[in-house]
Symmetry: C2
Subunit: 232 residues, 2 copies
């Protein structure tokens, strides 16, 4: 399907028919998600594709039994993690090794700078020192600012994960499916069902299926462009 048709066609569909979804369509959409751009290529995302009824029922319950979850033929919970960076760093360094004459700056970036940015220490000593340092240097010249604390680290990870979510949702629509991104769920319960630790954050749930006739609840409202696009 043409790209702009996909973008226009994507709406949050909150009710699905009982037509089952071919797994290959979901797999193709997941593949599209995985090539999304992301911070330092650290790919902090995880996709939980709900297959078993044992998981499905409590997850629908955790989504307050909303139609978008209950009538969904497939459910995916997308998670941002702060604790996969070491594994990913190692995989990236291995890949860099396979390149013809890998640039030294790239090796240093992943070997030295990534740990500085991604390492979490429970007392925020690293964050405090980095904050003081960058604020000081920042008085004199442009300086990368560090994200202080766990919530800001999640902000960065969620941002990358959201880019992948958008690819995923558009890819579903491009294949004739519909979906609804959900943030209305009990995150504590979702994490319990998915056995996620405190270094994980559920970015969104996505209900997937074929749109019911009354699946779109209203017309689309957008804030007027002149209020949000500024030419400076």
């Amino acid at each position: 399907m043409d790209f702009f048709d996909v973008v226009q066609k994507r709406r949050s569909v909150r009710k699905f028919t009982d037509q089952p979804v071919d797994s290959q369509l979901i797999e193709k959409a997941l593949d599209a998600a995985l090539v999304a751009p992301n911070s330092s290529n650290m790919q902090p995302w995880e996709f939980y594709w709900v297959k078993s009824t044992a998981h499905r029922e409590p997850l629908i319950e955790a989504c307050f039994r909303q139609n978008a979850a209950q009538s969904a033929q497939e459910l995916i919970f997308v998670v941002a993690r702060l604790d996969t960076w070491k594994r990913n760093q190692k995989l990236i360094l291995n890949w860099i090794d396979t390149l013809d004459s890998p640039p030294k700056v790239l090796v240093n970036y992943y070997k030295k700078l990534i740990p500085l940015a991604y390492m979490r220490d429970p007392f925020f000593i690293k964050d405090t020192l980095a904050y003081l340092m960058t604020t000081l240097i920042g008085w004199f010249r442009p300086t990368p600012r560090v994200s202080f604390g766990t919530a800001r680290a999640f902000e960065t990870a969620s941002k990358s994960t959201a880019l992948a979510c958008e690819n995923l949702m558009l890819a579903l629509v491009a294949q004739g499916l519909s979906c609804c991104p959900m943030e209305g769920f009990d995150e504590v319960r979702v994490k319990k069902v998915l056995k996620l630790n405190r270094h994980s954050h559920v970015v969104m749930g996505i209900g997937i299926g074929y749109a019911a006739e009354d699946g779109i609840y209203s017309s689309q409202f957008r804030i007027p462009r002149e209020l949000v696009v500024k030419e400076v």
Copy 2:
């Protein structure tokens, strides 16, 4: 262009030719950004399209003069805001008024629940009370969890804004352009140039242009799918 071709074609291009970009292409991409899904349709985003040299130079400086900024024909900084919700809430309520028989639940959602979620108080009294309440209720039944503090509020706003960024970037690629999302900038300096207050967060800068022959720096590496897609 076919949707999946666009997704595969999108790569971070870090060097652009000096061919200028037709403004209409940028406008079409911005329109695609604005129809992205987002939290409660609150559209917390803003797009700063850099047109004047007076702004362009210090912004490139704030991006450490990286190629992706310096050689870009167009630059857009995408911002998440916590202080536009009242205006947006009002616009949404006005729009709801124009609907045939607007559902009462929708009116209540925007009149009563949105302020609870979006209001910021400097001493986090609201957040603390909401946290205690939802934790208590959450022991007994599924409960929406509140995001505690400013950093978590930015996490939500950045997430929605990132969904729009992905639409924007893919829409550029669909029109034969290339782009590079950048997080490597001095946010303090970028905010100063764009005159942004503390309720704003610069989610990313996007350098835009036609790809130079050596604009893509390496092949694309992805974490193997079996490590990040879990069937549960």
